[in-house]
Amino acid sequence: MLGAPWDSLCRPDKSALIAYLTAGYPDRATSAGALRAASLGADILEVGVPFSDPVADGPVIQRASFDALAAGMSLRGTLDLIAESDVACPVVLFSYLNPLLRYGFERLLADAAEAGVDGLLVTDLPVGADPAIEALVAASPLDLIPLVSPTTAPARIVEIDARASSFLYLIGRLGVTGAGVPPDAGLPEMVARVRARSTRPLAVGFGISTPAQVGAVAQVADGVVVGSALVQALGRGGVPALEALLAELAPACARTSGPVHSRV
């Protein structure tokens, strides 16, 4: 059964808006305000732990990561920031594996839960890559959110679904994060391929930046993730620009053709 933090992924009238921000970007104080603002303007907040080698990210989040690190942000700093930001919606910690390993996984899971984190998404920890770590997360209060990609084979979707405890995150197209190439006409088919093998809510991300793109994805997905576009708005115009973009994106999540998911 889906835990309460993820109820926004089960609404018949709209898709959940999932906002991604890099912790500590552009600086610590602005970032705290941005996390709070995003948690009010979106349904779920993904907080990115900056990393020196973000291989799954495009130029915008790479730069945000490097700037945040240069300004002194860390994994511990990210947890403190989340705890202090008075976040008003569920939080997913979005990270590469190495900072978590260095911190110590058991300690991380306890500290993240205490800081108010509900879910954990690790870009370079695909399902099955490290059973010991997966068992630790399964025994913790945090949900591990697995990724599914356009290249994931049908049998593997079943395997991934079996290890998930909340929702699945579908990478909407091949490539790294960032605007440029949005998910294409093949998305509904890709979503159908996952839905045929999983009854869990499905969030779609990567390459989604405009209200029109959000609107298109919202018709087929339970959640729409926007990251680079929000990070870029924050970098250019601070928290007001972030709030303005969220205000444009939120109404685009409404569904015009009814529920997308037989379970809801």
């Binding site: 080698d53 260095r102 370079d124 890559a129 697995p146 990724l147 290249t151 994931t152 593997r156």
Partner: protein
């Protein structure tokens, strides 16, 4: 002639705890396909016959074993050099690119990407792509592009597209990041030829097998020449492909000392070095769990070495395991000693080694007195130093 590959020491893609497949979900299917193909070919004699014939007729193998009596007298041993510098393109790197290009052809992938530091792997990849008519894109740190203009020109002459990478440290680590990003976006049509025994499984096993020709030839040559096994075998270690290729021929010979030499850069205490096994901690970078230079927050630390080919903060997972088990001793040699080794091999034997290899030469000089004068000591001369001459001249003030 059938090739006998080294016994597989990895279990489910791991050497002890090291290795694995820590990659974005998008790449898993391609790694699975590559693994399945390679596992099938590992026992396929026809594949290794084809590989062996290209190594013989195109690369110029077997490479010679050269006596080095003058430098040998200085270190007090019978010094033997395995001449990987005499391969086509001037280094051991081409052994691996030949093997991986054959895999790409079997998968029907006609677009090849690669990362390169000093440019040796990039040149070896561009070369084999030209030979087989494959599209080739090489990612190279912007700083290395500036330092290695000659190799950039060679790659372009061979028809490759060289993409300078401006992010992060602007060296090999970031070139590898960018190659991985390209692969994630283009994986259905593209094969990534990783240049060392690093990266996710099956790369560390596969690249080792393609480089194991070094150890296989060397063991037979030393036995034939001296009537015994070498006392010590030494090789430089960045990612560690020439070393693992060489060591793989001797791992079961318990009496043979195996020594890997890392780059101590400006000195271990300076923090500016690439001695991953000696100063790193286990961590995950570029898809594999191994030793890693990193800070207390798990951020990857910049590596440093006078030699661009050793300038990498990670190391192959099999080396991590050989380090932990103690089968191989790892040491480090600083920039200054490496530059002296570079000059000394040139003066005593008429061979200008790559700066990477010069680290292993320097370790031998430091250890003189460790051997009896007739003890065979085998050095993997992984590459030639033409690429480094301008850089060394500038560093030592000898340019004019």
């Amino acid at each position: 002639m059938a090739i006998s590959l080294p016994p597989e020491r990895a279990i489910e893609g791991r050497f002890g705890p090291y290795g694995g497949r820590y990659v974005p979900e998008t790449l898993l299917a391609a790694l699975g396909e590559l693994s399945a193909l390679y596992d099938g070919l590992r026992g396929d004699e026809a594949f290794w016959v084809e590989f062996g014939s290209i190594l013989r007729d195109y690369v110029g193998r077997p490479t010679p074993l050269t006596e080095a009596p003058r430098l040998g007298a200085e270190i007090g041993a019978r010094l033997l050099l395995k001449r990987e510098d005499l391969n086509h393109t001037g280094a051991h790197k081409i052994n691996n690119t030949v093997g991986q290009a054959l895999l790409a052809l079997r998968m029907g992938k006609r677009r090849i990407i690669a990362e390169t530091g000093a440019g040796q792997h990039g040149v070896a990849t561009a070369t084999i792509c030209a030979r087989f008519g494959l599209e080739c894109v090489v990612y190279m740190g912007a700083e290395d592009v500036a330092r290695q203009a000659l190799n950039v020109y060679r790659m372009r002459l061979l028809g490759a597209t060289v993409v300078p990478v401006d992010a992060g440290t602007r060296t090999l680590k970031d070139a590898t990041n960018e190659a991985l990003r390209d692969w994630v976006a283009n994986v259905p049509t593209t094969h990534y030829i990783i240049g060392s025994v690093v990266g996710p499984d099956p790369y560390p096993r596969m690249v080792r097998d393609f480089q194991s020709v070094i150890g296989r030839e060397s063991r037979a040559q030393v036995l034939e020449r001296t009537g015994r096994l070498p006392h010590t075998v030494v090789a430089c270690v960045g990612g560690g492909s020439n070393a693992i290729g060489m060591f793989s021929g001797f791992l079961d010979d318990a009496a043979v000392d195996l020594v890997g030499v890392e780059a101590a850069g400006e000195g271990m205490e300076s923090g500016r070095h690439s001695a991953t096994l000696l100063a790193g901690l286990p961590g995950v970078l570029h898809g594999t769990l191994s030793y890693l230079l990193q800070d207390a927050d798990g951020q990857v630390s910049p590596a440093h070495s006078v030699s661009a080919g050793l300038d990498y903060p990670g190391v192959g997972p099999e080396h991590a395991w050989l380090h932990d088990t103690g089968r191989v001793e790892y040491h480090a040699v600083d920039d200054q000693a490496a530059l002296e080794g570079f000059a000394r091999l040139a003066r005593t034997e008429g061979i200008i080694p790559a700066l990477e290899t010069a680290h292993a030469v320097a370790w031998l000089r430091r250890e003189r007195g460790r051997w009896q004068s007739d003890d065979p000591v085998l050095l993997c001369l992984s590459g030639r130093g033409d690429k480094d001459v301008a850089h060394v001249a500038a560093l030592t003030g000898a340019a004019s």
